[in-house]
């Protein structure tokens, strides 16, 4: 049998942005039916490479040979027409149009009069989506679907347009495990059909589950390429980070030390019986000073909602929140912040950072009234706080005046942490603090959480990364469908127990009862 045909050959690709050499002499070869992992820390050049392949940017040097022809796409549309489809991290479809319209956007079936053939469109859309495990009324507007289902529509759309290469940029960041499985089966089907896939992800499990080959980028250069099976996890991480293998192994895969000394004192936060119609049904969580409490559960189990309800951002219909023994006014974010609750939101880009403002202004945003007299900002006090945190959290920015929107994800997250730490909080609610940030920054954030807990802060940790949740938490409260279904403490905090509790095996009746009486 002849080896599979070469679909894509990239030679010596380079791209420079003002002040940054984003991509430096990178090669990449892709064969039909190959699932290729593209990995690297943030700022390694993954996004740039993808943007060059899909016609968003033009390379400064190098060639892109696609299906044997030298190509230079002027626009993403041109690349898509030629057969390179891309699924981005954030769903980029039109929320108000129906599912079917989204699926066929730009290539709608027409009847003899040249009008849209809705009947055919809906029928074909339904068939196409069934293959992705999405069973919905395709006439409903897209936004009525969950994020995971929307992602599947985006995937179906990309694949349906007769792609030869499908590029997936962190496709699983908003998917539930079940949906991830569907995605993988779709990827395997693509492979069998001879379609090449470029798969970008920070999740190592997924890479090993589905990818054949790997390219590792670091600082805009290709530092490794080859078969993924020949590279074990630790080598992969160390190649990505450019650190010595021994060092990484010694420190484990997360930066958590795993041994906090939760004081036996009064809880610093006591949330009891929080109820939000259709979202939370009497959720209770308590956190002692110095304790990291994890919230476990699947997507949509109410983890984010719990954090938001505690911080006053999501109005509750009943339930109370006590901070250090004092009750909190319901549904007021400013009141919660004054009481010492800080929330690092899940959606960093749209709810966390203020992208157009500088690092300095973002850090000082919440604490500003405290640094002001009669509404006049004391620039000197702002500068001193900002400088302190830039140094302490090692925020990498060209200057405090740089716009936060221009920073990498990890640095944006650190800016947000700085914003809250400047407030001297008692309780930190961290909703997916390391999602979508590079391995190095992830380790730093994890280490920081450890240090903060050691300093006596109460921390609520939400993470879809099981490893992070298990190693980072002293206790894990497990949610399912908006209610507490179990609590793991001490030696029970293991991946196995957690998954069994989520799956509903209720391994430990005591834990459930304890959680119920705790509130």
């Amino acid at each position: 049998m002849a080896p599979p045909a070469e679909v894509l050959a990239v030679r010596g690709l380079s791209k420079t942005f003002p002040g940054v050499r984003a991509l430096d002499d990178v090669d990449l070869t892709l064969h039909a039916g190959e699932v290729h992992a593209l990995i690297g820390e943030n700022g390694a050049g993954k996004s740039t490479l993808i943007k060059l392949l899909t016609g968003v940017h033009r390379p400064d040097a190098g060639d892109i040979v696609f299906l044997g022809r030298d190509v230079s796409f002027a626009t993403p549309l041109e690349a898509q027409r030629a057969g390179i489809s891309t699924i981005y991290q954030e769903v980029n479809l039109i929320p108000l149009l129906s599912v079917a319209r989204n699926l066929f956007l730009g290539r709608e079936p027409r009847n003899r009069l040249g009008l849209l053939d809705f009947a055919r469109m809906n029928r074909e859309a339904e068939e196409a989506l069934r293959a992705y495990g999405v069973r919905v009324d395709v006439r409903r507007p897209l936004r009525s679907l969950g994020v995971g289902a929307q992602q599947m529509v985006a995937l179906a759309r990309a694949v349906a347009s007769e792609a030869r290469i499908v590029i997936m940029d962190e496709p699983t960041s908003s998917l539930e495990p079940r949906e991830v499985e569907t995605l993988f089966s779709v990827i395997r089907r693509l492979r069998d059909e001879g379609i090449a896939v470029i798969y970008v992800s920070h999740r190592l499990d997924e890479l090993y589950a589905v990818c054949d080959t790997v390219t590792v980028l670091r600082d805009g250069r290709r530092v490794h390429h080859g078969r993924l099976a020949e590279l074990d996890r630790l080598s992969l991480v160390s190649t990505m980070l450019g650190r010595e293998l021994g060092e990484v192994r010694k420190e484990g895969l997360t930066k958590f030390t795993g041994d906090h000394h939760a004081t036996d004192g009064q809880p610093v936060l006591e949330a009891s019986e929080l109820t939000v119609p259709h979202q939370l049904h009497g959720v209770s969580v308590s956190i002692r000073p110095g304790e990291v409490v994890g919230l476990g559960g699947l997507l949509g189990s109410g983890r984010t909602e719990t954090a938001k309800a505690i911080s006053g951002a999501l109005p509750t219909t009943s339930g109370t929140v006590m901070v250090a023994g004092a009750p909190l006014r319901r549904g007021s974010t400013p009141a919660a912040i004054r009481a010492g609750i800080s929330l690092l939101p899940e959606d960093r880009k749209s709810e966390g950072i203020v992208p157009g403002l500088s690092v300095r202004e973002n850090i000082s945003l919440a604490v500003l009234p405290r640094l002001s007299r009669f509404g006049l900002v004391s620039e000197a006090r702002v500068d001193s706080i900002v400088d302190t945190f830039i140094e302490r959290l090692r925020i990498k920015a060209s200057s405090p005046q740089q716009k936060v929107g221009e920073l990498s994800g990890g640095n944006q997250q650190k800016v947000l942490l700085a914003r809250w730490l400047a407030m001297n909080p008692k309780v930190l609610l961290l909703d997916e603090p390391t999602r979508g940030i590079d391995v190095g920054a992830k380790a730093e954030v994890q280490k920081l959480v450890d240090e903060l807990a050691a300093d006596g802060l109460g921390v609520l940790l939400i993470s879809s990364d099981l490893e992070e949740l298990i190693e980072g938490s002293d206790r894990v409260v497990v949610l399912k469908d908006g209610a507490v279904v179990g609590e793991l403490a001490g030696d029970e905090v293991t991946e196995d127990k957690l998954m069994r509790t989520i799956a509903g095996h209720a391994p430990d009746r005591d834990a459930v009862e304890e959680a119920a009486t705790d509130g």
């Binding site: 400013p334 912040i337 950072i353 203020v354 919440a366 500003l368 900002v377």
Partner: protein
């Protein structure tokens, strides 16, 4: 060869657009000054500058408030109506003296601003719709209070409109002081920073615990108060209260000044110096065309071209 040439063009173009976005409005003002010096007789006279400045002062004052509102990703269409309302109320209460009349004007304006702000902040109506309601209603109220033009004979009001300090008209002084004040508020106060944060990302501002509603309401009240100041000053200059036509299309002039001055409609940034220059640019452009006896329709077309250029430059920057 042709290919190489093509490749260098986009880079230069973005650079030119960025330059235009930042300095275009000042360059435009400078260009008009130079051109007029050459082609317009008596352009360089003090009298002419004085006339231009007095004419543009109300627009600048209204545009300052508009810039703040646009900084929160809003827009205020009711400023012209507030000017008319200010004119009516001034006429009605001038009998009690100038200061009491001004206080009543402030109360009315603040009420309109509060209504705008409350609709936007509490009920969540889009700013364009909320202020449209007040634009129609406000002028209606102005006409109910004072159905037709009324001559005003009040020496204090007259001196406000035409008096001066060391040869500089009060109008210009007031506009300058207000511009300085607003620029200071934007740069140096918590309110200014919070306003920009809300305009850039309202969900983030909310989660950061900023008093979003309070800031929005204050912004609309300030905008209405500034429009009222402009209305009173324009009335003082006319020495007549004219609620039918005073402030007509002022909202559009103000938005034009703000946009031409480089403040994006998407919020999060406020350029006060640019806004002042934007108003001056439009004023000079209009004056130039009128002095050379071109019909008013030409002025409108010229304005349109300036707006399109400004928007084009802004777009170039938005894409980075």
């Amino acid at each position: 060869m042709a290919e190489a040439a093509l490749k260098t063009v986009p880079l230069d173009r973005t650079r030119i657009l960025q330059w235009l976005q930042t300095y275009g409005v000042y360059a435009g003002v400078a260009l008009l000054l130079v051109v007029n010096t050459v082609i317009t007789p008596h352009f360089l006279s003090a009298e002419n500058f004085r006339t231009q400045a007095v004419q543009v002062a109300p627009v600048i004052i209204v545009a300052l408030g508009m810039a703040l509102v646009i900084g929160t990703e809003g827009v205020d269409l009711s400023v012209g109506a507030v000017m008319a309302l200010a004119a009516s109320v001034t006429a009605l209460y001038l009998g009690y003296g100038l200061v009491p009349a001004l206080l009543v004007v402030a109360v009315f304006a603040a009420a309109v601003g509060f209504a705008n702000g409350a609709l936007v902040a509490f009920i969540g109506v889009q700013p364009i719709v909320a202020t449209l309601a007040l634009m129609v209603g406000g002028r209606g109220l102005a006409l109910v209070l004072l159905p037709q033009l009324e001559d005003l004979r009040n020496p204090a009001l007259a001196s406000l409109g035409s008096g001066d300090v060391l040869g500089i008209p009060y109008l210009i002084l007031i506009a300058a002081v207000l511009a300085g004040l607003v620029a200071f508020v934007v740069r140096r106060t918590t309110f200014g920073r919070q306003l920009l944060a809300i305009g850039d990302s309202r969900p983030a501002a909310q989660l950061a615990g900023l008093p979003v509603r309070r800031v929005l309401i204050v912004v609309y009240v300030v905008c209405a108060l500034l429009a009222a100041v402009a209305g009173v000053l324009a009335t003082a200059r006319l020495q007549a209260s004219d609620p039918t036509s005073l402030g007509n299309l002022m909202e559009l002039s103000a938005i034009t000044a703000v946009v031409v001055g480089g403040t994006p409609l998407t919020g999060g940034r406020v350029n006060i110096a640019g806004t002042v220059a934007g108003a001056v640019l439009i004023q000079l452009l209009t004056a130039t065309l009128i002095k050379h006896d071109l019909p008013p329709s030409w002025t409108q077309i010229a304005q349109a071209i300036v707006i399109v250029c400004a928007v084009y430059a802004a777009r170039g920057r938005g894409k980075r």
